[in-house]
Symmetry: C2
Subunit: 214 residues, 2 copies
């Protein structure tokens, strides 16, 4: 709360003022869009919540749709950076997939209103979709998982399996864990939950003697 | 399309007429809510699409919110019946979990507009939520998976693992596969995809020598 409602700090250079105003508006807009829905939200509520004025919003984003697209673009950029950070790590494929899921899960947890808004748009009326490529998240994530899975199969760390299927299974873990954050009353898995569940699918649910394959 | 736009069949008893009108209205409303969004949709568009009149809609559902809640209630009832059918089957836990996911996946595929509407509401503004318990789907599904997982651990078919984690992992597969149906351009996994991916997490991603546990 106080992140958005505190007045802009004094003594900042104009550039920093600009950056902070932009950031405050993005956070406030995500909160208002989440609470009221994009269609029902007004620019007035957003600037009130940010403690700023309409001209500042129009200067940075041009329009209500402009700030919505900026939320999505900013989210996609952070998502892509999180994926790059995880891919750049060393260690086993298991460790790097764990890092990937933890990075993205942490990003989602820090930005629950924006993630909810993106989901609501994605499942909402097609006619109301803003000019934004929603497939971007899926492509970046699936691309990274495929790359890691292929490395793991080449090194022998993973079994030879259809790479697409591995990507769907790992993506599913991320989605199921993310839903726990996005739903108001869902039980929390705890910070290590996502890695515990990843271990579970790496090692399998069945004891060795009950494996169907290999 | 023609399911909704064909005129009511002649020669039906009044009760059957009623049932068919109700069903046509539910389908038409799910389509209109999906295309326009619930807030922007009108009762007029729904009855036009169903080839019926406003009084028929009000007779069955009372209001626009009434038909929305009926879509969700009807969906939840079908969901519960699908889960019960899967639980009543015989066979290994693996076979019964596969049947469970296939039943629900098939139900979702047959009702894509209604499932999209439910997702849009769930992620949409809390203030606009209809009087419906969205946790019902999650509780029924998680309860069934827990029950099957516990049976499997008792019989030795599954490793001893935290039942909650197993439920999240299996739920994740269903979600990842369902998203493939709900997203307009996602690649399709094929009808046996969900079972292939389930096998993958039962048997694990790694070869036996690389397992961390057991």
């Amino acid at each position: 709360m106080e992140r958005f409602d505190s007045p802009p700090a004094a003594g900042l250079a104009p550039r920093e003022h600009d950056e902070r105003a932009r950031e405050r508006l993005l956070r406030a807009a995500a909160d208002v869009f989440d609470r009221k829905g994009y269609a029902a939200a007004s620019v007035r509520e957003i600037v009130l919540r940010a403690g700023l004025t309409k001209p500042v919003l129009y200067y940075h984003f041009g329009s209500k749709e402009g700030i919505l697209v900026a939320i999505l673009e900013e989210g996609a950029r952070r998502f892509e950076r999180a994926v790059e950070r995880a891919l750049a790590r060393g260690g086993t494929v298991r460790m790097r997939v764990a890092a990937l899921l933890q990075e993205i899960h942490a990003l989602f947890k820090e930005n629950v209103p924006a993630v909810r808004v993106a989901h609501a748009l994605f499942f909402g009326p097609r006619e109301a979709l803003p000019p934004f490529d929603f497939g971007r998240f899926e492509r970046v994530l699936t691309g990274a998982i495929r790359r890691l899975a292929e490395e793991g199969m080449q090194s022998g760390e993973l079994r030879r399996l259809p790479v697409e299927d591995v990507a769907v299974a790992i993506n599913g873990i991320l989605e199921a864990c993310t839903d726990q954050e996005l739903a108001p009353n869902a039980p929390r898995l705890g910070d290590d939950g996502i890695v515990r569940i990843l271990d579970l699918i790496f090692d399998g649910l069945v004891p060795i003697h009950a494996r169907k394959e290999n």
